[in-house]
């Protein structure tokens, strides 16, 4: 069974630009979660999508947004990038109703210069 995949592995952007990160969940998983791991801050919950709808979002500004496609893959968009957006962005997936069993991808390292 293939795991959660994320692309790109690394992304370098300049301040003010937009970044798009992609995630493909494990087959059979309909829920996708996005987390930000900034230096020294652990994993901060960003967004949760299930069945194409946003179920919950963490304490992040609106310039962090995303969507889930009919095949359950997901995109995370970060607009008007700021230097402090530099972090590892992790995607996780789970079966419906099993948010306590999340499987993570390897992450996308976003660097904003």
């Amino acid at each position: 069974e293939a795991g959660v995949t994320q692309s790109p592995t690394h992304l370098i952007k300049t301040r003010g630009q937009q970044a798009t990160l992609r995630c493909s969940p494990i087959s059979g998983h309909t829920s996708v979660y996005w987390y930000q791991q900034a230096l020294g801050l652990g994993l901060q919950f960003l967004l949760w999508y299930d069945e194409g709808e946003e179920r919950n979002r963490g304490n992040f500004p609106p310039r962090f947004s995303g969507r889930q496609f009919p095949n359950y893959s997901s995109e995370l968009n970060v607009n008007a990038l700021e230097l402090e957006d530099s972090a590892l962005y992790l995607c996780a997936s789970s079966r419906v109703g099993k948010s306590y069993e999340q499987y993570f991808g390897p992450g996308t390292r976003l660097t904003v210069t």
């Binding site: 994993l43 901060q44 919950n56 963490g58 948010s99 306590y100 069993e101 993570f104």
Partner: protein, 113 residues
């Protein structure tokens, strides 16, 4: 406001000895607790979990203990192995619809041979 706290950023243990990683929480609505392990350049991988109705769960070398009255859980690794060296995240979830996992900041475990 940090609902899940891992107060020890790092822990060093000798091979063969016991590793004890601690986690405290503040939200009494948490009903499921998990431990994840993360190697550099990889996403977190699920290790072990415990429901709030239990006080102990064991899986091979890994045991998680839950003390609800103290709002404290711990992960015991016995015996510790060099391959256990990683960052360990404690996470918690409530049974309320639309919530996601809340992670601690992590503890870096170093097991020396």
């Amino acid at each position: 406001d940090q609902q899940v706290k891992q107060n020890s950023p790092s822990l060093s243990v000798q091979e063969g000895r016991i590793s004890i990683l601690n986690c405290d929480y503040t939200n009494s609505m948490f009903d499921y607790f998990l431990w994840y392990k993360k190697y550099p350049a990889e996403g977190p991988t699920f290790l072990i979990s415990i429901s709030s109705i239990k006080d102990k769960n064991e899986d091979g070398r890994f045991t998680v203990f839950l003390n609800k009255s103290a709002k404290h859980l711990s992960l015991h690794i016995v015996p510790s192995q060099p391959g256990d060296s990683a960052v360990y995240f404690c996470a918690a979830e409530t049974n309320q619809a639309g919530t996601a996992l809340i992670f601690g900041k992590g503890t870096t475990l170093s097991v020396s041979s």
